[in-house]
């Protein structure tokens, strides 16, 4: 258990059953009065911010989180299944929990899955992923419209802007931190 005196930025605690990350913390104590501990906490599952003020004497349960290397297997409806290649243990995540990460999930992609107890609450992707373009318009040579990019759909269904010279079936590199086109895969 943590006490209020242990509170600091970066601490992970359990509130109402969810894991929270302390993102801001201050100790306030008006002249000779009782100390107050003001915190800002982020829900590690849905990202919402919470302001809470505590007094001395209160205690918290630490949230133990574990990151594990897993491989993305398949999607069924809104459920995405991942597997630990060592233990063959599988976890399922909802599309909503994955957020934008679902745009880059191709079968057998290696990701880090964040586990809160048995529950998968998020994944971290490699910074760059290679995905094949499945649909984009042909670039008309001599196009003078001045557009320096055009929409393209990749094999996960994700749509992004790519340079005009990219063609269907080409493999491109996408930066998962920004969601933007990075470069084409040569060869």
């Amino acid at each position: 258990m943590y006490t209020v005196a242990d509170l600091k930025k970066g601490l992970k605690i359990i509130l109402d059953g969810d894991p929270y990350l302390v993102v801001a913390f201050d100790f306030v104590k008006p002249g000779k009065g009782q100390a107050l501990y003001r915190t800002k906490m982020r829900n590690m599952i849905n990202g919402t911010l919470l302001d809470r003020t505590y007094r001395s004497g209160e205690s918290f349960e630490p949230a133990s989180l574990e990151e594990r290397s897993m491989e993305y297997l398949y999607k069924e409806g809104e459920h995405y299944t991942f597997m630990d290649q060592q233990t063959f243990e599988q976890v399922v995540m909802e599309e909503e929990t994955l957020g934008d990460a679902k745009n880059y999930l191709l079968e057998n992609l290696k990701v880090e899955v964040m586990l809160f107890g048995e529950k998968a609450i998020g994944i971290s992707l490699p910074n760059f992923v290679n995905l094949r373009v499945t649909e984009t318009e042909q670039w008309a040579k001599g196009d003078t419209s001045g557009n320096d990019s055009k929409p393209a759909t990749v094999e996960t269904g994700y749509v992004l802007r790519v340079p005009p010279f990219i063609e269907e079936n080409e493999l491109i590199v996408i930066d998962t931190r920004t969601g933007e086109y990075s470069t084409r895969v040569k060869g």
């Binding site: 201050d26 000779k32 100390a35 107050l36 004497g57």
Partner: protein, 302 residues
């Protein structure tokens, strides 16, 4: 490197020292390690030798000196309060205290005005203003004075005694009252505290519900706490014991009473004394957002 902040800090301390020397105050050094502080409900001393403590304030020894016949005293010393660490708190910090025999808290308020004007004029010479949270405060503009009850009614829309009963006093003070003070362009004196919030202060003769205690704020930052001293040994002992009862109820260690101080109180003339946080004064002079910026090292850096 903090070079600028450390020069500024040295200059503030020199200005404060000159200020009191010029006004005929005796600068004293009293022991930092003592057998007993004044017990308070919400202040935890750091215990050292089997039954001794680091001072949480030099008040006990300085008031004994007043009882010995000294009339005007000041001291700049380190104080320790266990488990106090935040953007405005350090467990070990630097405190200025000054005492006047034959005066009450109103004289201390005038001292505060002159002292802050002197620090602003000497330490921020090209712009005699204090800075907090990017706003400026002018100690040469007329200061604001209001009672604790006025402040709670005006800025908190609530009665301070009701807040005390409901345990909401600290919450309202820090979330509604102190932020409202940041909008004043000059320092603010918050005065006449409910009697239960003044462990060592004299009750106001014409209003038994409040004590002659005040706090000085600049930009919502609490800078000093002063009061007319309680000189009744029996009443003082009772308040110490009440503080210990409250500590006991809250699961805090019961503290020994400073017996020689209690014995000396009958010799204490009517007096007034005040404690001012030097680190926070340097923060205002430097426009620093956190106390970390104005000390040579924080505990985390040691």
């Amino acid at each position: 490197m903090k070079t600028d902040a450390l020069w500024l800090r040295a200059n503030v301390i020199k200005t404060v020292r000159d200020f009191f020397w010029e006004r005929g105050f005796l600068e004293v050094e009293t022991p930092l390690l003592i057998p007993a502080n004044a017990p308070e409900e919400h202040i935890n001393p750091i215990h050292t030798l089997p039954s001794w403590q680091l001072q949480t304030s030099p008040e006990i020894c300085m008031k004994r000196l007043l009882g010995n016949g000294h009339r005007k005293l000041f001291q700049i010393s380190h104080c320790w309060r266990s488990n106090e660490r935040g953007s405005r708190h350090l467990s070990e910090f630097t405190m200025l205290e000054w005492y006047r025999a034959g005066s009450d808290y109103r004289v201390l308020m005038s001292d505060c005005e002159e002292l802050l004007q002197s620090v602003a004029a000497n330490c921020t010479p090209d712009r005699p203003r204090f800075v907090h949270n990017a706003a400026t405060y002018n100690p040469f503009a007329p200061w604001h004075r209001l009672s604790v009850q006025e402040a709670f009614l005006r800025f908190g829309n609530t009665d301070v005694w009701e807040c005390l009963r409901n345990g909401l006093y600290e919450e309202i003070l820090t979330s509604a009252i102190e932020p409202a003070f940041a909008a004043f362009d000059a320092p603010v004196i918050l005065m006449d505290y409910p009697a239960e919030l003044a462990a060592l202060a004299r009750i106001k003769p014409d209003d038994q519900n409040v004590a002659e205690r005040f706090e000085l704020y600049v930009g919502g930052l609490e800078l000093a706490n002063g009061f007319s001293e309680l000189t009744d040994p029996n009443e003082q002992r009772l308040r110490f014991e009440e503080a210990n009862c409250a500590r006991s109820r809250a699961g805090q260690r019961v503290l020994p009473l400073p017996e020689p101080f209690l014995r000396s109180l009958s010799a204490l003339p009517p007096s007034a004394g005040i404690a001012l946080g030097i680190d926070r004064l340097v923060m205002l002079t430097a426009g620093a957002a956190a106390i970390d910026e104005v000390v040579a090292f924080t505990p985390e850096e040691l």
